[in-house]
Assembly symmetry: C2
Homo-oligomer: 178 residues x 2
């Protein structure tokens, strides 16, 4: 078995399934056992970034709160900057805002208007691709800067939620699919 | 001038002051220009972790959301695990909870009950020491595990808010004091 597949299998085994969280019927994928284990955490970061060379990416963009974890660590590892995308009212400077639909109602994500230099190469990294609403809205925020979205990278993809359909035209990669 | 002082001066210059955020009279210290710059971000992580040797720390603990950024990157850099502390209702498994007083009312922070092995060496890292309430409550969560808090490390300390007084008995370090 190739070493990357062994690492992916170890990561998959460590992810904890929590039934009925945050509401009945949802099987929540708890990544905290991966984060807490130095080897698994390092393996996850290595696999999440192994498509990119040192210095090749200008920014890793992460969405609060869990999305900050992998994207900030990836930025440090690859010699890139880190850009936070946050809920409305959290970023202190001028922001762009994008809304996306939920089952009931809608949410928004924001980015500072001076966050990204035009022409930059950007990776959007998050732990989970579910319905894709957050990622699609974040990609729309990044596009306002005339930047290239090199990859949209996820540790986990819940394929039955068809989040990829909302990210058409973007290079989407996930390590682990449920 | 010693090279560390030069780095600290560069970080200090990059922090952006936002008046009247999140409410009138508050001078918010915006660290996003530090995060976005690969050299400043790497310098900040180097300085925040230079008291520790590779592998010497078992866990870096970070409080959502901004606290995840430096603590997750530090965990990867030092070969440690990362432990998230979150607001109530966000962590999916069983949690311990600690409350702390605000000017009006109170807030709580939570940690998974299986987050930390007894006897571990732990660093609590955050971007900002303000009134110290969150850090003190997080330290109380860590103590439930019979773990050693090796350091409580901040990028920025707002000394006039006297947050250190809430962290007595803990080894507190901050890089930049306003």
């Amino acid at each position: 078995m190739n070493p990357n597949q062994t690492k992916i299998d170890n990561l998959t085994s460590a992810i904890r399934n929590i039934p009925d969280f945050p509401k009945p019927g949802i099987q929540f994928k708890d990544i905290t056992p991966v984060l807490a284990d130095p080897q698994l955490f390092a393996d996850a970061l290595e696999l999440l970034t192994n498509d990119f060379k040192q210095g090749e990416i200008d920014y890793f963009v992460g969405v609060e709160a869990r999305g900050f974890i992998f994207s900030a660590a990836a930025a440090l590892k690859l010699g890139a900057g880190f850009i936070p995308v946050r809920k409305p009212g959290k970023l202190p400077y001028d922001t762009y805002e994008e809304s996306y639909d939920l089952e009931y109602g809608s949410n928004s994500v924001c980015i500072h208007t001076d966050a990204i230099r035009p022409g930059s190469r950007v990776v959007l990294m998050d732990d989970l691709l579910a319905t894709g609403g957050t990622a699609a809205a974040t990609a729309a925020l990044i596009r306002k800067f005339d930047a290239e979205i090199v990859q949209v990278t996820f540790l986990i993809e819940l394929a039955f939620l068809k989040g990829r359909e909302k990210l058409q035209g973007l290079p989407v990669r996930s390590l682990i699919t449920f």
